[in-house]
Symmetry: D3
Subunit: 133 residues, 6 copies
């Protein structure tokens, strides 16, 4: 009923170990976060979630730091302490300064406020923004 058991590498089956190995190789680290050790209770979800993270958070049109900032901003909006903590750490590893963190937080607060002002006043979308993108 409480937190699920964390599956350590030594107790993991081959399927789980393969994911752990890929996480450590991809991230160039020798540890695996508790998030993955919890998901390992469901190896299918562990693999699917890791493959999604690996694909989505890889460098692309957006650089890795910008991606982490977006991830943290969503996690703060949803108030998920685990995710904001671990991804703030990732963002820091990728070069986020204190000033960047504070600016990101200010935007999260502002957008959460303005989302409600726009909805509460039922503001209609400006004609010039109505064309299909």
């Amino acid at each position: 009923m409480g937190p699920v058991k964390l599956i350590e590498y030594k107790d993991a089956n081959a399927q789980v170990r393969a994911v752990y190995d890929d996480i450590m190789a991809t991230r160039k680290t020798d540890r695996v976060n508790n998030f993955w050790k919890a998901l390992a209770n469901d190896p299918v979800t562990l693999r699917r979630t890791w493959e999604s993270v690996k694909q989505i958070m890889a460098p692309g049109a957006l650089d890795p730091l910008t991606k982490e900032l977006i991830y943290v901003a969503v996690s703060v909006t949803n108030q998920c302490r685990y995710c904001m903590t671990t991804h703030t750490a990732s963002a820091t590893n990728k070069g986020m300064t204190d000033a960047m963190f504070h600016e990101m937080m200010a935007i999260v607060g502002l957008a959460n406020q303005n989302n409600r002002l726009a909805e509460g006043y039922q503001v209609e979308i400006d004609d010039c923004f109505k064309e299909q993108s």
Copy 2:
């Protein structure tokens, strides 16, 4: 009870016009979004909100495009169609490509998923992330 009346420039008092003028000057445009025309029903909130936006969204440690991407990501998470539409337009004006938009959306979806997985499995924060920042 429905949407509030939008206050056009010609119908605005001096206090509201001063804000509209500052919006247009700051953004180098000759139009004011409906959001501001709705807030103008409460000139104190109009001024406070505009001053906050002007301060927070100005270039800083984060560049203006990154700031817009974070703003859109929060608005999509909260499902505020007005804000996601207008700030997607702003992001596009600041150089967001289609590829960037799609990557931002993928991260928003992923974080919304993983926030629930982390909370639902009640994952405890890793010891190495517990030090005070």
Copy 3:
């Protein structure tokens, strides 16, 4: 799959009519809102929900206008357009002025912002607020 059918008085069974009659008598009106006509598709939920509304929104330690303001504030936070529209109408009927509406909206925006700042900065509760109430 879309909106449920609204059950009009003339098409309602005795169980539903009894609730409609009580709504109209309690509210001193000759019409029933669409919310109730939608819930009437499930007469048990119609009755339970109406009994809850009647009990909770009745005058008590808080006056009816304050109750409506709280109801609207939650509905704006959750961005439920139906509830914010109908309860803004109720609040207006109970004496809400435009100035009151604008102040309520400003608080909703502020709290939505500060909730994220408090969570994102992981502010610990002050010792002086930790005693049991």
Copy 4:
């Protein structure tokens, strides 16, 4: 990565102390809540947020207790424990009784329920509520 460091008065710079002094003078107290000590890591956000709170929560068309009740209702909806705790304390200082607290909580629960019933049944807004306010 974890909670930010709280900036105490003795360690604060002049800019931060000026805000702390204003908080204590406005609230007629000799202490500053942890929320402000956390925001002090970003003095610009500290000042902006305090100025917003001072403006919005001051007596106006709505009395200070009603304002606190609305603030708490939003914070409970968003499940922000820090904000609900500190603003419940503020509400109590401004005259909130236990009975008022319980009634506010009942409304928050009810609105959160009915928001989903209205959305899930996709209830259309009644014609009589569609006129512009």
Copy 5:
């Protein structure tokens, strides 16, 4: 300001004891969860909430286990740790296996992701789904 006092059976008045007795009789147990002991501070809300739970969670067109799974899924989405913990226990008592729990969690994550993709891309409802149900 902090958690409310829990009202134990021996300290409860007759009105509260009657609800506790009904909870224990209905659930065939000799204990009452903390949720009810907290609500007992407001006996009217205690009774109303218990009557709602008893009515809604009883076997009906949906079996009790399916009902608990839906309840947990909502609580995980809202990130309410108390409710997800206690209703996961209830679901387990009603036959939920680990495999069922993991599948429910995967759906919760998926829907939270896809809700944002659908909203963020502003997908219009397919014509074939627009008929009234």
Copy 6:
């Protein structure tokens, strides 16, 4: 800025067509929902999301109807009209009766209410639910 363009089969590239073909084959239908036509603007996300849906929503320890009910319950909680509409249709195809739909809705409303009551009263988890699962 508004809704993205829907990619029809005849305009789709080979990568997108392969996913559309798999959707139609898996679901034994000759049409593809707008959700997929919107995601097709980002073929990588289209494929990843479809593979996740196919894996998660397939029959397993939970039957397909129960899975759809959980999906709808989350979508109603998040107030995503597109997802609740299309997955209500899927649930109906898999045998959901009106009575089941109403019971699911009642649980969603109840859990959304009780989540806030549990959080607002800051109910502590009962000792008996604290053991690790």
